[in-house]
Symmetry: C2
Subunit: 335 residues, 2 copies
């Protein structure tokens, strides 16, 4: 069933059918109704390729994320996808993995598919070296690129971020004020937001002159799902003789591991040991006691990101960078 069939059955030209299809005003009510009737009767839907060929757009946004099974990223994808659809766009998802090479490949694929815009979910798409970010610049030369929780100063790239630095800074100060001095910072990512969080912790600790031994900074290298391995990391730390009575984690999973560690050690939480998580995810209510965690307003970020993208696509001038504040959700693992 094509536009030709419809035009024939309705006794009009294909141009008229096309006008009806695209809601043009220059069609008489009578004709419009006749065409619409035929369209409905035959359940005709226009061929998206043919339309795309002419218009060179398919109302499709490419979404890239390293790993859709990551709790936080999955949630972001969910919000983004829903909000896009609500605005008449749909999305091609690419789970890129964490290597630059596969990211570049996915990016090219999306460009090839003629997406109208690209959303990079998570901050692991930005690299230290400018040359490694070339793949983003190349893409941005063709379509707008949106960054969620990342920042990059390149034309046609827009970012929406949570103020991770401040959130972490204030959370760290709070923990210090409750009397915990030897606080390990437990992290597993050196991405843009990873660095901002670390900086927040570090600044607070340095202000209070508490960052004596550099080994308070603990980088966990391993799967983001392997809680036992994370716990083991902390156990080893203890065995090496490091004394610590608090853990500030860059992610709830790491915080959860810290809670498990404390339990293994026989510490009482939060009396003997404090833990702070990040993302306020499902995990934060999974353990005993429940995690105090930082909520970075993911849905708000996503909503704003989509609004900005749609604005850019509509040709409006939109802010290059938008920052939202996070919020500390107090639960049982801190005093």
């Amino acid at each position: 069933m094509t536009i030709y069939d419809i035009s024939e059955k309705a006794g009009v030209s294909i141009a008229t059918v096309s006008r009806v299809l695209n809601g043009s005003n220059n069609v008489s009510e009578k004709t419009k109704k006749r065409v619409l009737d035929v369209i409905n009767q035959y359940e005709y839907t226009p061929n998206a390729f043919a339309r795309g060929l002419g218009l060179n757009t398919m109302k499709t946004i490419g979404i890239m994320c390293a790993d859709s099974s990551d709790l936080y990223l999955a949630k972001a994808i969910y919000y983004i996808e829903q909000k896009l659809r609500a605005n008449g766009y749909d999305s091609i998802l690419c789970c890129t993995g964490y290597e630059l090479e596969t990211k570049t490949a996915s990016m090219n694929l999306l460009i090839t598919k003629k997406v109208d815009g690209i959303i990079l979910v998570g901050s692991n798409f930005i690299y230290e070296k400018d040359s490694d970010n070339k793949y983003i610049a190349d893409a941005a030369a063709q379509v707008p690129v949106m960054l969620l929780n990342a920042d990059l100063d390149i034309p046609n790239v827009y970012s929406v971020v949570s103020d991770d630095f401040t959130s972490m800074y204030e959370a760290t100060l709070q923990m210090i004020q409750t009397g915990v001095k030897d606080i390990v910072y437990f992290y597993n990512s050196t991405s843009y937001s990873g660095k901002r969080k670390l900086a927040g912790y570090r600044t607070a600790m340095e202000e209070k002159k508490l960052l004596s031994g550099a080994n308070l900074l603990q980088f966990y290298h391993g799967s983001h799902e392997n809680i036992p391995a994370m716990t083991q990391h902390l156990v080893k730390l203890h065995e090496k003789g490091l004394k610590f009575h608090g853990v500030i984690a860059a992610d709830d999973s790491l915080a959860l591991a810290a809670v498990k560690y404390a339990r293994e050690m026989g510490y009482r939480i939060p009396e003997d040991f404090s833990v702070l998580g990040y993302n306020n995810s499902l995990l934060s209510v999974c353990c005993e006691p429940e995690l105090t965690s930082i909520d970075n307003k993911l849905e708000t970020l996503c909503q704003h990101l989509i609004t900005t993208l749609l604005g850019v696509l509509a040709g409006n001038e939109m802010p290059k960078k938008t920052i939202f504040s996070g919020e500390i959700i107090k639960r049982g693992t801190t005093r």
Copy 2:
């Protein structure tokens, strides 16, 4: 940059360029190299719409899932997306929500986009009433439809499922054999696999004549992320006077809630109270003690689903239904 530009610069016809692009053999090495050089020089990539118009396919698979932020579904999407890409397909993701209406809308959208096949992730797409499954039959009339963990006997619909009935049946028997008699079944879905699991539990309990009071079957109605609400559900049950010393849950999140409940009640796990989860997800290692849970081999299921889909698309005869066995992963919440 079009195929015409390339052909001109390379001094050949567009047909030759097209042949090079599509890896046809009928091109001399010399010509091929010349064309390739020009293509690379100008970084030309073919227009996907124009190609799609002619071929009426875009090597794209539609993935539908109710909620991509669900741990289990997110993981499934991850596997599926990766395996599709590895085979030269990419995917349009639709998070449909749980209403029939929005599911139908997403389905139509995918058909409109001319996807080559559709994958329904999770069993909540199948309804009791045949008439409610019409949207699937309609889609299957156009493209193959793959079901993950669901079953529907309609032409051009293929299913790959885990044997939830047997897994649950055996797990229930095991728990009974450890001496727990009053076992609550805690579930939150009446989907295809939801029913199969329930049937497994029920069969085992009835065989042992343990299913006296029907209120051992506890349906939780609420968000799959709201662990506290799930816990509360069990507390209320206790307050109503129901005695139970075991919980078999249809999902790890529910099992986690059961662990929390037991803790609140002061029960020791697994001495006084046993808990079994399902899916062997991240959550199963989040609590203390860690959850015994049923692993339903998600990656294997996904791999097989993709293999089947690719086979169907290639025109091969493929099995309508494939069943895999699950496995009980013993951890600390059962004896």
